[in-house]
């Protein structure tokens, strides 16, 4: 495979043999996290703090008639705030300004915040929430994508559509007409809750200068900043947002902290006291954002040899009640919807629609897990229809260097699709395991029919398999089947299209008083390793060790706006800026010293001398668009991303035909991420994303009743435990990207895209049932197995159109 991804441009001379980058140095904040010293928002002690609570709508849609406070309740000491108390604009500023901070006259979704309460005693304020009565004039709610498309009620414009996207390449109808076979399918994905273990929480206080200080659990300090400047009509320098140690985000703390931060700030504003709002789990699951549900239809024309000829894709996502981030989620979903496959004729039509459910928002993958789930399931259906090995089908179609994506982007460099695919197949021993499972499933079937065949067989127990599989599929008269499935995905790093240009992120490096380099960036450490990885990039360029580099807390009073910590952009984009800052700082100091820097101590000596003789040193870099990247927002054409990362996942499953339970026995995940700055952190991202993807595919189902989540507990919203998670083998592929620091691309989201379709494929391999909707709960699988023969794909190809699976 061509590894000549780096085009000849400014020679990137490595200053010295890698000292830090590529090594798994100890996580800088590790000691705090293993000793309990790390202080999360709920751990902060603030003298005089009040505890805030939110009174929310209990109905999905209606007009607020009256809000009354029960006169029998003792309201002394209770701070009450509603929309009239907001000093600035009543909105949560984001893309469109359509979401109020507090509902005024109408509610558009259940759990919409209406009233805020605060008191010194958390139990009193809790009791106070029950002493608020809200009367509504209920209106007919729209709760599903279907009802929204059918305009059961008009919530937005004349079609309920928040955003329409059309991407076209070639001529799809002609392509379909000229194909040997056209395969159709419809795929559905439900909501998914981010389920960071630390709930959302913020502490706000008024500052002596008449401004606001807000600290809390968040991903994007400048998002909160922007929102509060608007809501409180304050000059930007009077709003200060500080990140506290954050217990997971996954997108769930991208935009929502603006809401909860605004609420805490409003109570603080009104009371003059510090106010803390920390959600409990019930409120967090019920009220905050989730992954967008989606319905995706594909109509794909292929040649007999498996080459894709045309792909017509229709996507509808449920945006919820307000626009929030839906247009950009939809955009990323649409751009990735055809998968990492060459195809000359593609049309992708995507819509995000309004419903009266809580707004859906950012969640790791950001639209791409939904659409790639669909296209990957569809590839399985195509492989089955053609009688091709699913690996071989992907091998034939996977992107190579020079291929063109549906937006017309030419893949100029760093295309590791095939390499990731082959690495996964090799590590998983694809062909061997596939044959083994087929043999053993046949034997098990025969045994169950009682013809005595294969009595000793039973799906086998490879060396790698887990002891808890008990005696394997033979055990205790259970009817078990095993299967193997794979998927191939890609994920664009950084903001879509012109997003990075609009952000114009800034990062800086300065010299602390002790002569150590200090990183100034708004990118947050949310568990993924930002702090350590940034320190490594800077250390490498400066010729010092990572632990010598200081990393400033993301605090809008101290750090420049390096954009949000989202979109797999932190390492590639902001890390890239920091690397440049560091190279420039090194140059400055070496010029000053008139000799090269030897190591950390030497650096410190020179830096101190510089500080005393020349004064402060601060180096700042702003994002500059690489000249080769072109994007047309209106036509949706061009380079959607600077570069893509590629990943493949292989899973083996065991299905109990009687209970419908699926166990994932093993997972292999490969990822082409350009360069693993810190192999252990990178593998941690891949493993964690894989298990979130497993939850998405198998376990995690948000259940609704009249527009409200009813399983808003950890007892009934099920995420994977250590027993559900299989051993994971990770293979990192490094196809360097010339614009990324040391060749790095994005890693955070990619691993979320791959597991769900791989699991569905493995279930189909084990049982013959193709399930087109995730999560594949036991109920859904049993249903699929019951009308199994309908959903069952023959192995041979049949000419003409095949209508893909059923909907439940």
């Amino acid at each position: 495979m061509a590894r000549r991804a780096r085009p000849p441009r400014a020679s990137r001379t490595v200053l010295r043999p890698p000292a830090s980058v590529g090594r798994s140095v100890p996580r800088l904040e590790g000691p705090d996290k293993v000793t309990g010293r790390a202080l999360y928002v709920d751990d902060l002690r603030v003298p005089g703090v009040l505890h805030g609570r939110t009174v929310r709508s209990t109905i999905a849609r209606g007009r607020i008639q009256r809000v009354s406070l029960d006169p029998a309740f003792d309201w002394s000491g209770v701070v009450v705030a509603d929309h009239r108390d907001i000093p600035g604009e009543n909105l949560v500023a984001l893309i469109e300004d359509d979401q109020p901070l507090l509902a005024a006259e109408e509610v558009r979704h259940a759990e919409e915040p209406i009233l805020l309460l605060a008191h010194e005693d958390p139990e009193r304020v809790e009791a106070a929430t029950r002493a608020v009565q809200i009367e509504y004039e209920p209106l007919e709610p729209v709760l599903t994508i279907e009802d929204s498309l059918a305009r059961k009620a008009l919530l937005r414009g004349d079609d309920n559509v928040f955003k329409n996207i059309l991407i076209e390449r070639g001529d799809v109808e002609r392509g379909l007409a000229g194909s040997d076979l056209v395969i159709e399918g419809e795929y559905r994905c439900g909501h998914q809750e981010q389920l960071y273990i630390e709930n959302n929480g913020m502490i706000a206080e008024r500052t002596p200068d008449g401004g606001l200080l807000v600290r809390g659990s968040l991903q994007c300090p400048y998002y909160v900043h922007k929102a509060l400047v608007r809501a409180f009509a304050l000059p930007p320098d009077q709003v200060r947002i500080v990140q506290t140690v954050t217990g997971g985000g996954f997108g769930g703390k991208e935009e929502y902290p603006s809401m909860i931060g605004g609420h805490a700030a409003l109570l603080a504003w009104k009371s003059g006291r510090p106010v803390k709002i920390v959600y409990d789990r019930l409120e967090d699951i019920a009220a905050t954002t989730k992954r967008h549900p989606a319905v995706i239809k594909l109509r794909t024309g292929v040649a007999r040899d498996g080459m894709l000829v045309a792909n017509a894709i229709d996507i509808v996502m449920d945006g919820g009640a307000y626009v929030t981030l839906s247009p950009v989620v939809l955009s990323r979903g649409a751009i990735h919807a055809a998968g990492p496959y060459r195809c000359p004729n593609v049309s992708i039509r995507a819509r995000a629609v309004a419903t009266n459910t809580p707004p859906n928002g950012a969640f790791r993958g950001f639209g791409a897990p939904q659409t790639q789930f669909a296209v990957e399931c569809h590839m399985e259906r195509i492989a089955a229809a053609l009688g091709l090995d699913p690996l071989e089908l992907r091998r034939r179609n996977a992107y190579r260097l020079g291929d063109v994506t549906p937006t017309g982007q030419v893949l100029r460099e760093s295309v590791g699709a095939l390499e990731a695919l082959e690495a996964a197949a090799r590590r998983a021993r694809w062909a061997e395991r596939r044959a083994l499972h087929e043999r053993e499933n046949r034997a098990a079937e025969a045994r169950e029919r009682g013809d005595g065949l294969g009595s000793g067989a039973g799906p086998g127990r490879g060396r790698r398999e887990r002891a808890t599989n008990g005696a394997g599929p033979r055990a205790n008269g259970r009817r078990l089947r095993r299967g193997i499935g794979l998927s191939l995905v890609y994920h664009g790093a950084g903001f879509t299209g012109s997003g990075e240009v609009k952000l114009g992120s800034v990062a800086a490096l300065d010299l602390a008083r002790d002569g150590r380099p200090r990183i100034l960036a708004a990118s947050t450490e949310i568990g993924q390793g930002t702090t350590t990885m940034f320190a490594q990039l800077v250390a490498e360029a400066l010729g010092v060790t990572a632990d010598f580099v200081a990393v400033e807390t993301p605090d809008t009073g101290l750090v420049p706006d390096s954009g949000p910590t989202v979109a797999s952009r932190t390492c590639m984009v902001v890390g890239g800026l920091l690397e440049k800052c560091a190279r420039s700082m090194r140059e400055r100091l070496e010029l000053f010293a008139e000799r090269p820097i030897k190591d950390g101590r030497d650096f410190q000596r020179i830096a101190r001398r510089f500080l005393s003789e020349r004064g402060p040193l601060r180096i700042e870099r702003r994002y500059e668009k690489p000249p080769e990247i072109e994007w047309d927002d209106d036509r949706y054409r061009g380079d959607a991303y600077g570069v893509f990362s590629y990943g493949s996942c292989v899973v083996e499953v065991e299905v109990d035909l009687d209970t419908g339970e699926t166990r994932v026995l093993r997972a292999v995940a490969t990822a082409d991420i350009g360069k693993a700055i810190h192999p252990i952190l990178a593998a941690g991202q891949i493993e964690g994303g894989t298990i979130q993807g497993l939850g998405y595919g198998l376990l995690e189902e948000v259940r609704w009743k009249e527009g409200r989540v009813w399983n808003h507990q950890l007892t009934n919203y099920i995420i994977p435990t250590s027993m559900d998670a299989p051993p994971i083998e990770v293979v990192i592929v490094e196809q360097p990207y010339s614009r990324g620091p040391f060749g790095a691309k994005g890693v955070g989201e990619l691993p979320m895209d791959a597991p769900a379709p791989a699991i569905v494929a493995a279930i189909a391999h084990a049982t013959g049932a193709r399930i087109d909707e995730i999560p594949v709960t036991p109920e859904r699988l049993l249903e699929g197995l019951r009308d199994g023969d309908a959903g069952r794909d023959g192995s041979g190809s049949s000419p003409g159109s095949r209508r893909g699976g059923k909907r439940s």
């Binding site: 309990g36 999360y40 273990i197 954050t246 217990g247 997971g248 985000g249 964690g688």
Partner: protein, 168 residues
């Protein structure tokens, strides 16, 4: 009646123990009560009268990290860190019961099944627990962090009163 969790966090100023769900599902609030892992969000404080309670703050001795803590750092088992205190406490009990034997991957997974982690996918946690049981040799051949080799060298391991099984 205050929960043990609140007393630890507020009255004892030991905020290392976290609340993730308040209903005993996530394990972030795990502490050792007389050597047994318990969700402190489910324990009314009266029930620990006379018992020995060990939280994450008690796992390091005299500022020296336990083998478990070191391996958690070394092998990337702590990401966002919010589940880490509960994981460490639960793993400490497992290692104490293992008495120097290295528990199988499956045993570790079973022992940790009451502690939810959303970041790691559990693999690195399992690896770190087993590495600590092996005496802290990290798997990737990196020079082992120096440490006393006995697992259960944590304070948890020394709590050996007879009054076990106070509560579950």
């Amino acid at each position: 009646m205050k929960r043990l969790l609140d007393v630890l966090r507020e009255d004892c100023s030991l905020p290392g123990t976290k609340e993730g769900c308040g209903e005993g599902e996530c394990g972030a609030c795990s502490v050792l009560i007389d050597g047994r892992t318990v969700c402190s969000c489910l324990v009314p404080v009266v029930q620990v009268q006379g018992a020995r309670v060990v939280t994450v703050e008690g796992l390091a001795r005299a500022g020296r990290l336990s083998a478990l803590q070191r391996e958690f750092i070394q092998l990337g088992a702590a990401q966002c860190g919010i589940c880490t205190p509960g994981m460490l406490v639960t793993a400490a009990e497992l290692l104490r019961h293992a008495r120097g034997r290295v528990p199988s991957e499956e045993e570790v997974r079973e022992a940790l099944a009451g502690n939810l982690c959303r970041c790691t996918g559990y693999q690195k946690i399992v690896d770190a627990v087993r590495a600590a049981a092996r005496g802290g040799t990290s798997r990737n051949g990196a020079p082992a962090t120096r440490l006393a080799r006995a697992p259960g060298r944590s304070r948890a391991g020394t709590a050996r009163t007879k009054r076990s099984r106070r509560r579950r």
